[in-house]
Symmetry: C2
């Protein structure tokens, strides 16, 4: 059986594991994401000697997927870091790279909440907001890759919070990410209770449902998976679902949009690592077909 | 050389032609879109005897693409009309069907402003607003098909027009379609001049640029083609382009987004009919590969 290395690089921590599926995944190793040289050498050290056939990396972005690099990022020291080169040079196996959310979408499609579907979106609502879309089973790329957290949304009439996105202010991420909740209310989402929690969840549902609506109208996905820390606020997913039905106003308003359309991840916290396994397998397939 | 029939069904008129490419397209025949029986029999009558190898139909929606039918539509008498069945029964050739905007996207990709691109969007801004996306060269479908005109947009701070969409009120189509311009200003867009025109174009650019922004963030297209009658208002495309750069706020803010990203159709008014030719060819290919 093939054995793959999978790496999920986040802005604050980097996870690694080996295996061929979520069922036989090794213990997950976590290191803080510090500077590129240190973090990448820890990734290489972990995978060296594991005899993997390929490695998949699902990483924070923006990414230059053609060049295998991080793009220009506010994360200090990481702009234009070559992610693929050092790992391939050290371990000499095929490497697959995609965004963290495209990775999670691939994992959920293979083993999670979107099995059997060709067209769906994985959305994460947490420290940032992002989304990865699969169309005909393939992650969507074009001129770069999607950055779904930065869509514009209508402001809730009772929300005068200016927004926390360093670029757009009040884009979706600026109004509905975990830091926006904390900055607006003075407390982290998971520490809210009573009417503070109710208010925060209603606002959050208002914004996330607009994203779901725009996904329906732009991509016509068969399902939207909503993960990330904020998505676990009590009542949030039901709230988004109710709001989405209102947003669609019956058009298309299919029965599928009312129930079972917005779902939590099937793989809990390992969607991204599972996706790394898929990226690794795809890298092998690509190397074979081109070799 | 193959010879195809192509049909573009709009809410008010239906166009037909035969050929193999825009270069050898026959004269275009136009009939009013009245009731289904009359309109479809006129289509059949036009194509009968033309010895076509296949027929492509790009139609107004919503469509049930699996069933080859119109969905539930406010256009009287057309809900759940079988489009493909009667034409195939009468003419006994493969039939390809897709939305008008997916058709136009296919035509523009093959012969127009998106030649050589796999990932792009064709947007029409006219009586309605719609968009067809190609990803990896294929029209995007999933749970139904996209209905891009119905995304939510932020309202311009000086615009208090309630919106004309019968379902959503002030969705993009409700605020920025041709009828919205006319209803808001009291005159059709093409009849405006002076400051009335300037104001209308600025509002229109504000809304259409939000659509372009959300397309960038959700689909990362390589190009966005903007067609339809309203798109020809003087200064509109430049206005949308300027606003889009502001909307993206440098993220991703690639050089490609600033110039040559938003373009008019390359096929002027025949994008949809050209797309019908592509749909016809695809229907032949599909019949061959399954036969």
């Amino acid at each position: 059986m093939a054995r793959y290395g999978t790496v999920e690089m986040g802005g604050t921590k980097t996870l690694g594991a080996v295996g061929s599926s979520p069922d036989d995944l090794s213990d997950v190793v976590a290191v803080p994401t510090t500077d590129p040289a240190e973090t990448l050498s820890q990734v290489i050290e972990f995978l060296d000697g594991e005899q993997v056939d390929a490695i998949g990396i699902a990483a924070f972005g923006p990414l230059d997927l053609v060049g295998g690099r991080i793009g220009v990022t506010p994360k200090e020291g990481w702009s234009e870091t070559d992610l693929v080169g050092p790992v391939r040079d050290a371990l000499d196996v095929p490497i697959g790279l995609d965004t963290d959310v495209n990775g999670a979408a691939l994992g959920e499609g293979r083993w999670g909440a979107a099995q059997g579907l060709g067209n769906f979106v994985y959305v994460t609502v947490g420290t940032g907001i992002g989304g990865g879309a699969l169309v005909d089973g393939e992650p969507v790329h074009g001129l770069g890759h999607p950055e779904m957290g930065h869509i514009s949304v209508r402001r809730h009439p009772e929300d005068d919070y200016p927004g926390i996105c360093r670029l757009h202010g009040d884009c979706l991420e600026g109004l509905a990410s975990g830091p926006a909740i904390e900055h607006r209310s003075g407390a982290r989402g998971e520490d809210l209770s009573g009417t503070d929690l109710t208010t925060a969840v209603a606002l959050e549902a208002f914004y996330v449902a607009q994203m779901a609506r725009n996904l329906v109208y732009i991509l016509a996905p068969e399902r939207v998976i909503i993960g990330g820390g904020v998505s676990r606020l009590p009542g949030l997913l039901d709230g988004v679902n109710d709001r989405l039905v209102d947003e669609l106003a019956g058009y298309p308003g299919l029965p599928e949009h009312a129930s079972g359309f917005l779902v939590p991840p099937g793989l809990a916290d390992i969607s991204g690592l599972a996706g790394g396994l898929v990226l690794a397998k795809r890298a092998v397939d690509r190397a074979r077909s081109s070799g």
